[in-house]
Symmetry: C2
């Protein structure tokens, strides 16, 4: 099945306790499409960059099978830029600088040839823009997944609830789930959020793993305890890309298959954090991914007598 | 196999976002022996209380099969008292008051009939007292497990490392593992700590589950996402009691069996937090425990094609 990802393509500048980068390639849609490329061959990208964006990165996306016909290049604009510094715990960070640049007045255009995509991933953006994007489809894709963040809950909660009502799957982190629902218990929060629209909810807990909720069913996937967590940037997007890429590959919405998607997504995220930016997820082999998935099997399997 | 638990028996006064208690029964050894009582019938307790401690609670421990011959009652003293208030996230708390009372100069005595116990659980206490207690055994029990806390890392690190070198299994939380090892990565921290002595390490992560480490092997057990977490007091001790009680019942130190112990311990802890104090773990049925364990199976099981 074909996947379309709509989201940011960006420059990031990152500081972690282990080092810092100059401007490197980032953006939700970059991580999502790269991660998904290991699973689905019909992998389309809609976004915008400025004239400063390197052609080599676009070529790299193409080399991963990503169709970049929907990636606009604004010849007069500069690419979205984010700079941040991670705290010692690597679970929290400060934003040092954000330059919206070409994203400021961006309204995604859906090329005609993407109209029949079955899987749509709406990366984190202004909720009204996510909603507008979904409304541009003549027919709603059969699986619509959305990522968002606390900022929109602070300043655009009504818009956010508007788009959440229209989607099949929402992915947010644990503190966002609490903020969105007003419930402290994640179990209650999940029920409250699913009542807002999405049949499936994924709560990401960073180094503590991820929870998948669907109706009364719950699945927990641990994060792999790693020797080195070098840079968490993009881990959530990489997770989402692995998950929806796996779903697009298998076209199976059963809870059992969604669990597998969560495992593959978590495996992809575990690679992502091993190096700065997208470096690690640009050069993976099928074998490496399969071996990593087996580590998840070993980590979580047990038998009750 | 027989289990001996040495630790505090106490009064607690607890405030959570959901309510507060008057003085209720608490103490590490109380939670540990009650949790272990569902698994092992040879369940011995060494500790001390004051004249103010209610006979009914001692009777309740006995009714759970706990041998209280090692529980001293100081006719002139008052029982150890702790009072605390949990924050909204239920993962952190402030101590409002601590009265050591009879614990101040307490030196555990091991009754002769407990000398041959195979499993020893040293609940959280002054590390030098834990060490002194272990030295009172003519022959070291075949499995010695120890719980401790950050306070002793702050003020008695050398003593703590002294006793840690002598034990088989250590249980601490994630921030304590980081403090004890000086490593941020829990994987590295685990290797550093196991090099200090214990072959097995359990890192408790509260609502995020628990990690079991043994040599190169790692197992992750999630915490059950609960509708209500009412009072986390004693959850770690209940977990430890369920774990070592299960090991004492099965007398099997294989990694596969230890994993099962972690699951049973986590199931016991998930009951503990549903009510204040020991209330919930005083009245469990085998059926309830088995059903709860099946919830862990459902929560974590998946199959890769």
């Amino acid at each position: 099945m074909s996947l379309l990802t709509v989201g940011s393509v960006a420059f990031d500048k990152i500081e972690t306790p282990f080092g810092k980068t100059d401007k490197i390639i980032g953006g939700a849609a970059t991580y999502i499409t790269l991660a998904a490329s290991y699973f689905t061959k019909k992998n389309n990208l809609v976004g915008i960059v400025g004239a400063d964006f390197p052609q080599e990165m676009i070529d790299s996306l193409k080399a991963h099978g990503v169709d970049t016909a929907g990636l606009e290049v604004d010849p007069n604009g500069k690419t979205f830029f984010w700079s941040g510094r991670y705290h010692n715990d690597m679970n929290s960070r400060d934003t040092l600088e954000t330059q919206l640049n070409v994203l400021e007045n961006y309204e995604p255009t859906i090329p005609e040839q993407y109209q029949d995509c079955e899987f749509l991933m709406l990366g984190n953006m202004v909720p009204a823009v996510q909603h507008m994007t979904l409304n541009k489809f003549h027919k709603k894709p059969k699986f619509v997944m959305l990522d968002t963040m606390n900022l929109w809950m602070d300043i655009a909660m009504d818009d956010l609830k508007g788009i959440i009502a229209e989607i099949d799957c929402l992915t947010i982190n644990d503190s966002e789930a609490r903020q969105l629902s007003g419930d402290y218990s994640l179990k209650k929060a999940a029920n409250t959020i699913m009542a807002m629209g999405p049949k499936t909810l994924i709560i990401k807990k960073g180094e503590h793993g991820a929870l998948l909720f669907q109706g009364e069913r719950t699945f927990f996937c641990p994060a792999l305890p790693l020797e080195e967590v070098f840079d968490p940037t993009g881990a959530g997007d990489t997770f989402a890309g692995g998950f929806i890429g796996y779903l697009a590959q298998t076209d199976d919405f059963s809870f059992e298959n969604m669990k597998r998607g969560i495992i593959y997504g978590s495996a992809m995220a575990s690679f992502c954090v091993e190096k700065f930016g997208v470096e690690r997820i640009q050069n993976l082999t099928e074998r490496e991914i399969d071996d990593r998935v087996m580590e998840f099997v070993q980590l979580s399997s047990f038998e009750i007598n």
